[in-house]
C-alpha cells in the first residue's frame, strides 16, 4: 500500500484527520471508563489490608503512569519539532501539556487522599511524591514559558528545551521507589508476575486503557484549536466550511 504518511504532517491535512479520529477515541474511552468503574467497584473484592480505601488505586496508578508517559511523548514531539522544524510536532507538544499537568494533579490528589488513611499523612517529602510534584511543576513551567513568548516558533523552541531537560525527571519518578527508601510502596504489578487479585488488575488496566484513549481524544481536540490559531492567515483555514458559514 502506498500511503503518503507525510501528508498528515502538514497541519492542513491533519486538522481534518484529527476531527475524524476524535470519536473513535472518545467513545471507546467513555465505554471503558464505565467498564473499568464497574469492575473496580462491583467485581474486585475488598482488600484484606486496606479495606475499601484501596479502590483509589484504579485512578491513582493509571493517572500516575499517564502523567509520566504524556511527559515523554510531549518531550518527544517537542524534540522532533526542534530538530526537524516540523510545526505540527510542536503543536502536538503544546496540546499534550495541559492534559499531562491535569494527570499529574490527579495523581497527587488521589495520592494524598490515599496517604491520609493509610500513612496518616496527606503529604510526605518522600522521593516518589516529591519527584511527581516536580513533574507537575515541569508541565506548568512548559505551559507558562510558551505562553510568555509571543512568537509561536520561538515559544516552541524554548518549550522544547525545557521539556527535553525535564524528561530526566521521569526515570527518577519511576525508579525512586527502588533507589531510595521511600514510604511510597513499590509496584504491585511486575513483569515477573503480580501480587494483585485478577479482578483488581482487570479494573486497573481497563482504567489505564480508558485514560489513554481519553488523552488521545482530548489532545486531538486541543491541537485542532492550536492549528486554527497558528494558521489563521492561510487560505485553507479561510476556506474551511466551519469558518465560511
Amino acid at each position: 500500500m502506498a500511503i503518503n504518511w507525510f501528508k498528515y504532517a502538514a497541519p492542513s491535512s491533519f486538522y481534518g484527520l484529527a476531527g475524524r479520529l476524535i470519536p473513535w477515541f472518545a467513545w471507546p474511552a467513555a465505554i471503558l471508563f464505565c467498564v473499568g468503574l464497574y469492575i473496580g467497584f462491583f467485581v474486585a473484592p475488598t482488600d484484606a489490608v486496606q479495606s475499601e480505601a484501596y479502590r483509589i488505586i484504579f485512578i491513582h496508578v493509571p493517572a500516575s503512569i499517564l502523567s509520566m508517559m504524556i511527559y515523554l511523548i510531549m518531550a518527544g514531539y517537542a524534540a522532533l519539532g526542534l530538530i526537524f522544524n516540523t510545526r505540527l510536532s510542536s503543536m502536538m507538544a503544546s496540546a499534550l501539556a495541559p492534559t499531562g499537568a491535569l494527570f499529574a494533579f490527579i495523581s497527587l490528589w488521589t495520592g494524598a487522599l490515599w496517604g491520609k488513611p493509610m500513612w496518616g499523612a496527606w503529604w510526605v517529602w518522600d522521593a516518589r511524591l516529591t519527584s511527581e510534584l516536580i513533574l507537575l511543576f515541569l508541565y506548568l513551567g512548559f505551559i507558562s514559558l510558551q505562553a510568555s513568548i509571543e512568537d509561536p516558533r520561538r515559544a516552541d523552541r524554548a518549550g522544547a528545551l525545557l521539556a527535553i531537560v525535564g524528561s530526566v525527571n521521569v526515570p527518577i519518578i519511576y525508579f525512586s521507589v527502588q533507589w531510595w527508601n521511600t514510604l511510597h510502596q513499590g509496584s504491585s504489578v511486575k513483569l515477573s508476575g503480580t501480587s494483585m487479585h485478577i479482578a483488581m488488575q482487570q479494573a486497573m488496566f481497563t482504567m489505564l486503557a480508558a485514560m489513554w484513549l481519553y488523552v488521545i481524544a482530548v489532545a486531538l481536540l486541543r491541537v485542532r484549536s492550536i492549528i486554527l490559531e497558528r494558521e489563521r492567515n492561510t487560505q485553507w483555514v479561510a476556506e474551511l466550511a466551519e469558518v465560511r458559514q
Binding site: 475499601e52 483509589i56 485512578i59 490528589w109 486541543r222 486554527l228
Partner: protein
C-alpha cells in the same frame, strides 16, 4: 447489595469518593474548556474574515 453500605465504603467514603469525584470533575471541566476554546477560535476567525484583509 445495600447502597448505603456501598457509599459508606467501610468508613473510607471521603477518601474514595473524594478521589473519584475530583478526578471526574477535572476531566469533565477539561473537555468543556477544550470544546469552548475551539468554539471561540472559530468565532474569532469569522470575525477576522468579516473585518476584511485590512484588519
Amino acid at each position: 447489595m445495600n447502597w448505603l453500605e456501598f457509599f459508606a465504603m467501610k468508613g473510607y467514603a471521603w477518601y474514595v469518593w473524594g478521589s473519584y469525584g475530583v478526578s471526574l470533575l477535572v476531566l469533565i471541566v477539561e473537555v468543556i474548556l477544550v470544546r469552548h476554546k475551539k468554539k471561540i477560535t472559530l468565532q474569532q476567525l469569522r470575525l477576522m474574515r468579516d473585518a476584511g484583509p485590512d484588519a
